[in-house]
Amino acid sequence: MTEIALLLDHVSFNVDDLTIINDLSGSIKHGKITAFVGPSGAGKSTLFRLLNQLKTHTKGTITFNNEDILTINPMILRKKIGIVLQEGVMTTGTVYDNLALPRQLQDKTLSKQEALSFLDKVGLKERFLNTKAKELSGGQKQKVSIARTLINQPDIILMDEITSSLDQVSTQAIEMLIKKINKEDHQTILWITHNIDQAKRLSDNTWVLIDGECRYQGPTNHLNEATDQAVIDFLEGGDES
């Protein structure tokens, strides 16, 4: 496995005449947490959808483990680059049904023991296994979403503002979980957050996206040394989104 997990080479995404992602280039390292910050409408969520191939970029190349992602079967790619969606979408049924979904899609089953171990990994008690998933709190839904994505054993996990609607306690629990998954499993994590302090607390590297362009890309602890005026304005503005 190369050190670079993802390589973006002049990637753009347009919808008709509207440019959402404009000429993005850069690389993501294996085993690191990379935060994506920027104001609303900067193209962060769209970028994640390009990486998971829920959308296809209109220009440039995205390379995953030295392979152009457009040459990889989307069903295989989406298992390797998993995404945890912002809304913590749950399907009808219990927590177990949701955890078993990725296996079910491959005509395989998930044993109760496996399901419990994944629940334990994300810090949820055994009693939640048979709870109706749509009755869970926002934080619990996000934990189940993370566990469900982990079941595919992805090389990379994309997390799209998964703490944006959570209270402080739930946010801290998710932050600890992300750190744990990254440390214990050396999981490569890409994380969208609108909270700069959160990015500073958790991530090794940070990309600042503004108007579809990457205006800063580098170690998070050097973020305050950024010279780009748009980045400085954004950092001073704090939570703009």
């Binding site: 919808v15 998971n52 191939q53 829920l54 959308k55 296809t56 457009l70 989307p74 069903m75 295989i76 989406r78 298992k79 998993g82 995404i83 969606l85 809304e87 979408v89 399907t91 979904l101 990725p102 899609l105 491959q106 469900r148 994505t149 595919n152």
Partner: protein, 251 residues
Amino acid sequence: MTYFTLSLTLLFVLIPILLAYFLKLGIEKDILVATVRSVIQLLIVGYLLQFIFDQDSSIFIILMVGLIIFAATHNARQKGINYKGITWKLTLTYITIEVLTQSILIGLNITPATPQYVIPISGMVVGNAMVLSILFLNRLTSEVNDKQDEIELILSLGGSTKQAIHRQLITSIKASTVPTIEKQKTMGLVQLPGMMSGQIIAGADPIQAVQFQLLILFILLTTAIITSIMLGFLSYPTLFTEQMQLKQTFK
């Protein structure tokens, strides 16, 4: 019925027009247009059927059935404009249903291959299929719009497009066939079906009218299920791109 007695039935048009006028409902023009259109259309069809019955030629039967299928397709396609190739998908569905039902009816000698039987039954079969396909397309579109997060969730976990749309497809098939099944449950209790009533009014034996009505009901049941299933499986791939993404037109 003479044209004079028919003209007396216009009283049933005058009543709603007067009520609409005095209550300022603003639908007088619509009632008039609907009346004039139905008179003209039905008279044309009446004379056309008279001509075809007199010819007793299979070519005219095929032409008439073709016209029915064309009109049904033209009407239903407006509801499925977002589905690529909806015209040929609807046409293929209607042709399949027509061929299937007529093959059983004529092949098993249930009804004779004469225009008096083939054309009215085709009209009922294709007409029912048209309503079913409009219900199905409406429901599928709203299901996809409402549940796009669930569809994308399954795609994002590595599911196929068929797996992603499965639940919405089943819901839409069920929902579109429910009216046909429910109507059948109360048939004869709440309402007498149009065809049966028409036969009885025309002086036919009520038992024979019931027998024909049952035949039609059973055919419509097959029509309902086949229309929704066939249209569903023909339509769902057009919701997705080649890269297995939900198309922008449905988002």
